[in-house]
């Protein structure tokens, strides 16, 4: 235990993303993830320590809870359609549009959320998959619960939404850590990492960091090319495809 703690303190000291609040110090093991052509997802460790205002470790008697949330910066507009039977055919009937849908949402906490705080507190900080603020898109009416749930179900199925209650562990009275598995399809862009510490059902402090997820090398060059020179990209794609077809027919010429 002592060795782990010493190692953690060292990592904390060396860590790149380091934020400090009133009585909460938190860090991430990496603040930049580069997506290369061999990227198949990766793990990031979020860790930290809770201290009293005087800078000493918490007395073991005081119960503290920690909630770690990682969500993507840019929210999406999403339309949910519901298929219904019309005659023999299933077709889209009702539809609802939502705004503020994060592309990625990960939550990890020391205990089940309902034991940590009351519903209104959880709502306020959007803690928990069922509490992400998904509003109706401008010019659209709010949908029944089932439409909202369809978004969560789909995103959980794609591994971009996850909630692990009990996955934040305390290594000692004040040191905590949790491992975040970023899936291979994690959206490129900035992720916001927020650590909340709770005491008696209230947020006592929070700490926010940014995790940059960026394509690099050939992946970066290709996606920039596609985005900034779309016409040229399209022409090159067509020409290279045609060239590939031509070369293959040459290669097979002798053999036919």
């Amino acid at each position: 235990m002592r060795a782990i703690r010493a190692a953690l303190v060292l990592v904390t000291a060396l860590s790149v993303g380091f934020a400090r609040a009133e009585d909460l110090a938190a860090g991430i093991s990496r603040d930049k993830i580069e997506i290369t052509s061999s990227f198949t997802g990766t793990d990031v460790v979020v860790f930290g320590a809770i201290e009293t205002d005087e800078g000493t470790a918490l007395p073991a008697t005081e119960v503290r809870d920690v909630v770690v949330v990682i969500r993507s910066d840019k929210p999406y507009f999403v339309t949910v359609r519901k298929k219904e039977r019309v005659g023999p055919i299933w077709m889209n009937r009702e539809e609802r549009s939502f705004a503020g849908v994060p592309g990625f949402y990960f939550l990890s906490s020391t205990r089940p959320l309902r034991e940590i705080a009351a519903a209104d507190v959880l709502d306020q900080f959007e803690l928990g998959l069922d509490r992400i603020a998904l509003g109706p898109a401008p010019g659209s009416v709010g949908g029944p619960r089932a439409f909202r749930e369809a978004i969560l179900r789909t995103k959980i199925g794609q591994d971009v939404y996850a909630q692990h209650e009990g996955a934040v562990s305390f290594l000692s009275g004040s040191l905590f850590r949790t491992t975040v598995a970023l899936p291979p399809n994690v959206p490129a862009g900035n992720l916001k990492v927020i650590v909340y510490s709770f005491s008696q059902g209230q947020v006592t402090s929070s700490s926010s960091m940014t995790l940059f997820i960026d394509k690099t090398g050939i992946e970066r060059r290709l996606s920039d090319f596609a985005r900034y020179e779309p016409t040229l990209y399209g022409i090159v794609a067509v020409l290279l495809s045609a060239l590939a077809g031509f070369l293959a027919s040459l290669a097979f010429r002798q053999r036919l």
Binding site: P75, F77, N185, P187, A226, T231
Partner: protein, 307 residues
């Protein structure tokens, strides 16, 4: 072995994608169809976002069609004149198609219309072709390589004006029917997002009465341009062509097409038509099944954009 796709933003298995490209290329070389109607659903099944799947498969079709056309052309199996007339019509059709498609989208039922028109077209074309080729196979088949044509025989298309001589296809017919066929294919290509080979091939065989061997090369010739146009359009408007996914599919596709041609030549033309009919009917059944079978999840999501 996995590789990360820059536009789809997800990793895929390299060998799986090359294999998929090869399988579709094989069908393309053998039957003269682009194969987009098979490739797109497969890509989506492996989690590729629909927009990327549709846009990227069109580059694979360009590659395997070029690969196929050059080989067919060396064998004298491409009627460029006929292809040109079809393309002219196709251009008009795609312009019309964009307007029809936008009207449907505004009505919110583009998906349903696409599925229904697929089922109707595939079902009727596939059914008719299956029945005809089965009859031919049963009666020992014709070795001429085309459906029976009385020497100097006249069909309904022969009475029309603007007659042209299509030497490769051994036809002297009005240019209007192939041009109209082109319009229809262009219309469908835009609305349904496919090259239209599976409709063009049977139409050339049965309506225009071209020899089956010439039909395949000519269809592929026409598909090159439709697919190239589609690639450009997607690259410019959606930026959804994934170069790495395209490269994997193309590597498989261009070789698959060559094997498809060799295999197709060994097959008698009535059997070839029977196989194509079976393929078309299978796709039709699958789509029809999706329309009437209760969906696993009645809700479906579409991402409209970033706020």
């Amino acid at each position: 072995m996995q590789i990360y796709l820059p536009i789809a933003e997800m990793p895929v298995n390299i060998f799986l994608m090359i294999g998929l490209g090869a399988a579709v290329g094989f069908l393309s070389g053998m039957f003269g169809v682009g194969g987009g109607f098979i490739l797109t659903p497969f890509l989506m099944f492996w989690g590729i976002p629909p927009a990327v799947a549709v846009a990227t498969q069109s580059t694979q079709i360009v590659a395997s069609s070029v690969s196929g056309v050059i080989t067919h052309w060396r064998k004298g199996n491409v009627d460029f004149k006929m292809g040109g007339v079809l393309l002219g019509g196709g251009l008009v059709g795609s312009v019309l198609g964009i307007q029809v498609f936008n009207a449907l989208k505004a009505a919110g039922q583009a998906d349903l219309f696409i599925s229904l028109s697929y089922v109707i077209f595939l079902g009727s074309v596939g059914g008719l072709m299956f029945w005809e080729s089965l009859q031919t196979v049963r009666h020992g088949g014709s070795n001429v390589g085309s459906i029976k044509r009385e020497p100097g025989g006249h069909y309904w298309v022969h009475g029309w004006p603007l007659k042209m001589r299509f030497q490769r296809s051994k036809l002297y017919i009005s240019a209007i029917p192939p041009a109209l066929l082109g319009v229809l294919i262009g219309l469908l290509a835009v609305i349904m997002g496919v090259g239209g080979g599976f409709i063009l091939v049977p139409a050339m065989i049965y309506l225009l009465r071209m020899p089956t061997s010439i039909v395949i090369g000519t269809s592929l010739f026409q598909i090159i341009f439709v697919a190239a146009f589609s690639t450009l359009l997607h690259a410019i408007t959606n930026q959804s062509v994934d170069a790495i996914l395209a490269a994997l599919l193309i590597v498989g596709g261009v070789f698959g097409a060559q094997f498809g041609i060799r295999y197709g030549e060994r097959l008698r033309s009535d059997w070839l038509r029977l196989c194509l009919a079976a393929l078309v009917l299978m796709i039709c059944l699958r789509l029809g099944f999706d329309l009437v079978w209760p969906p696993a999840d009645p809700f479906n999501l579409s991402i409209e954009g970033i706020e």
